[in-house]
């Protein structure tokens, strides 16, 4: 009898964990199975969102100053242009061979328009473009260029640097990955 009671006692005794109970709750929750499911859902959600929808991007270079500083972080929304076309003034990511390295530029010219720089001012179809984001004057002069039906004209906000050192120009619609969200 005594032997049986001892056996029962040993059976019902809770298993000793190497972690204190409160720490166990903090780390893995009251129900480890539920925590595991939650973690899995979170991982899958993060993977899908940050791989296919919001591409995390670290900006390198000074061509988008003062809007975006060198080494700042941003996200490119790949769904931004799923239901409408890019708009003038949008800051977009432009892919090279793929989306891992992109140029980040502002759209100033839309398909079919003629874009030119005269004494630093942007002319769209011969009319001066109002650019509130442009804080510093520049002296760029570039002859007019007509955009094709699927072409956008993109340029950085930092036009204090010489135009020769700045990458800008026509980008095909297929190169526009998405819109910067920050």
């Amino acid at each position: 009898m005594l032997a049986r009671n001892q056996a029962e006692q040993s059976n019902v005794r809770p298993r000793q964990s190497w972690l204190p109970r409160w720490l166990q709750i903090v780390l893995i929750g009251r129900n480890p199975k539920v925590t595991l499911v939650r973690a899995a859902v979170l991982i899958v959600t993060c993977f899908v969102v940050f791989r296919f929808i919001l591409l995390p991007a670290r900006i390198e270079g000074i061509s988008m100053l003062p809007t975006y500083k060198d080494r700042s972080v941003n996200f490119v929304n790949r769904l931004a242009y799923r239901w409408h076309e890019p708009q003038r003034g949008d800051v977009v990511g432009i892919r090279l061979a793929g989306p891992h390295v992109m140029y980040m530029k502002r759209i100033i010219g839309l398909p079919g328009e003629t874009v030119a720089f005269v004494e630093g001012r942007v002319l769209i179809n011969g009319e001066v473009l109002d650019e509130p984001y442009e804080k510093t004057p520049c002296d760029w002069n570039c002859p007019p260029v007509r955009l094709g039906p699927d072409e956008y004209f993109v340029v950085g906000d930092n036009r204090t640097m010489p135009s020769d050192n700045h990458v800008f120009g026509k980008a095909g619609r297929d190169r526009i990955v998405g819109k910067a969200i920050l």
Partner: protein
């Protein structure tokens, strides 16, 4: 339960079989991708290399190319060259390694299109080079033409792709003092 176990086992075996098959007989895309990754690794250099290491690495770089490579690039180091042979590639690689204090090259995006005859392919890729001591990395989009020669994929043509046009046309026009409207010729993308 037994049936479920058998199905799972069968699925695992099938997956292993597929993996083994692709491991033993990789697709041309996979082979080319691996080869281009190797090329990027070979082009990369560390700051304090010995002369012997430098020479060996430069020779290994030349091994990725055909005996004569057609060029259409905007690298100022190469001037207006239209082609290079392996010895010239070795010399160029050697010069680049000896000049740079250290360089890390990678191809973050590689898109490969293999021809139906599986004997030639085109790789459109982004080249990203981080040169030690320089703040910004150098980024270019390039197109490599490859041909299968004696079982090996060798690069036969290198071309710089214009990601954004017009600025390049403008730059080129200014440099050459020509008309700014250039539509047909291939011109490279200017640096960042």
């Amino acid at each position: 339960m037994k049936i479920v176990f058998r199905i799972v086992l069968l699925a695992a075996l099938a997956a292993m079989g597929v993996w083994l098959w692709t491991f033993l007989f990789p697709s041309p895309e996979k082979v080319i991708r691996r080869r281009l990754t190797e090329l990027a690794r070979s082009v990369s250099s560390s700051a304090n290399e010995s002369d012997l290491t430098r020479l060996a690495a430069a020779r290994s770089v030349a091994g990725f190319f055909a005996t004569t490579v057609e060029l259409n690039v905007d690298l100022p180091e190469l001037g207006q060259r239209n082609s290079m042979d392996r010895e010239e590639i070795t010399q160029a690689a050697l010069m680049a390694r000896s000049r740079a204090g250290g360089m890390h090259v990678k191809f973050p995006d590689i898109n490969i299109t293999v021809a139906p005859d599986k004997q030639s392919a085109v790789a459109d890729l982004t080249v990203e080079a981080n040169i030690s001591g320089e703040h910004d990395s150098v980024v270019r989009e390039m197109k490599f033409n490859l041909r299968k020669t004696d079982g090996q994929w060798l690069i036969t043509r290198i071309e710089t792709v214009r990601t954004l046009t017009w600025s390049a046309e403008l730059r080129f026009g200014k440099i050459r003092g020509e008309s700014l409207v250039r539509a047909d010729s291939e011109i490279g993308v200017p640096p960042f």
